[in-house]
Symmetry: C2
Amino acid sequence: MSKIRPIGIVHSPFKRKEDIDSKKYADSQGFDTVHGELEIFKEYEDGLKDVEGFSHLVVLFSFHKSKGYKLHTEPLLGGILRGVFATRSPNRPNPIGMTVVKMIERNGNRLKVSGIDMIEGTPILDIKPYTSRDQKSPIKLGWLEKKMNS
Amino acid sequence: MSKIRPIGIVHSPFKRKEDIDSKKYADSQGFDTVHGELEIFKEYEDGLKDVEGFSHLVVLFSFHKSKGYKLHTEPLLGGILRGVFATRSPNRPNPIGMTVVKMIERNGNRLKVSGIDMIEGTPILDIKPYTSRDQKSPIKLGWLEKKMNS
């Protein structure tokens, strides 16, 4: 496939992975109060036209600190080994993350958002509007069911 | 970033982009009745352990037919030019798509799913469990508000 390259970087209060309290992952609102910025490189700024109308954005990003992967992996929330595709682990065959953030304010090429669970300097690969096609309900959470509070 | 390579391919009733009725995109349930399969290559099959417990999966895939992009683009649903990051157009700086599908049944390395909006042969890059952290409500749809029925 075409070459993948960053279109921007995440500014986050989390400077390192170790700064993130893993309990947050178990709470569906755990990151809602975490604010940060999506800085889109100037050459892509024109592509941000109209994003300010959406309340939520899908952010695709590179797990740039990830080093390799195992097909069976121990989840951050603990417990027995799970298939990597049944987890959101950063260590995956293609280390691409997906997080839905809430739009607060756009200032030119910088988007103030909440819901940040990435670390400072994370390369952004794509931004997409979150739409009603992405809202699924009711859902079943498999092994996460007992780990996560909704 | 690390090299991106397919972990599987999509089997879809849509053989070409032209087979998709664009009205479906305007309906949040437009693709709910579209069934297909996610075929994960044998070497990654072990990573599918536990996915069958989840009702919905996030699928990242390559827009492999996409050729280049413009920062201002005309949406499939028509109308004036929009910033590419305010659309789900396949023609984007990093041509990676994201669709949430519903899990029906797992048979080894093949996942029967519904909600398919990709074409036959689309390279799959990643599969992740859809969790309550991905459920956002209420949402605002910006320019899509008048185009889409929820």
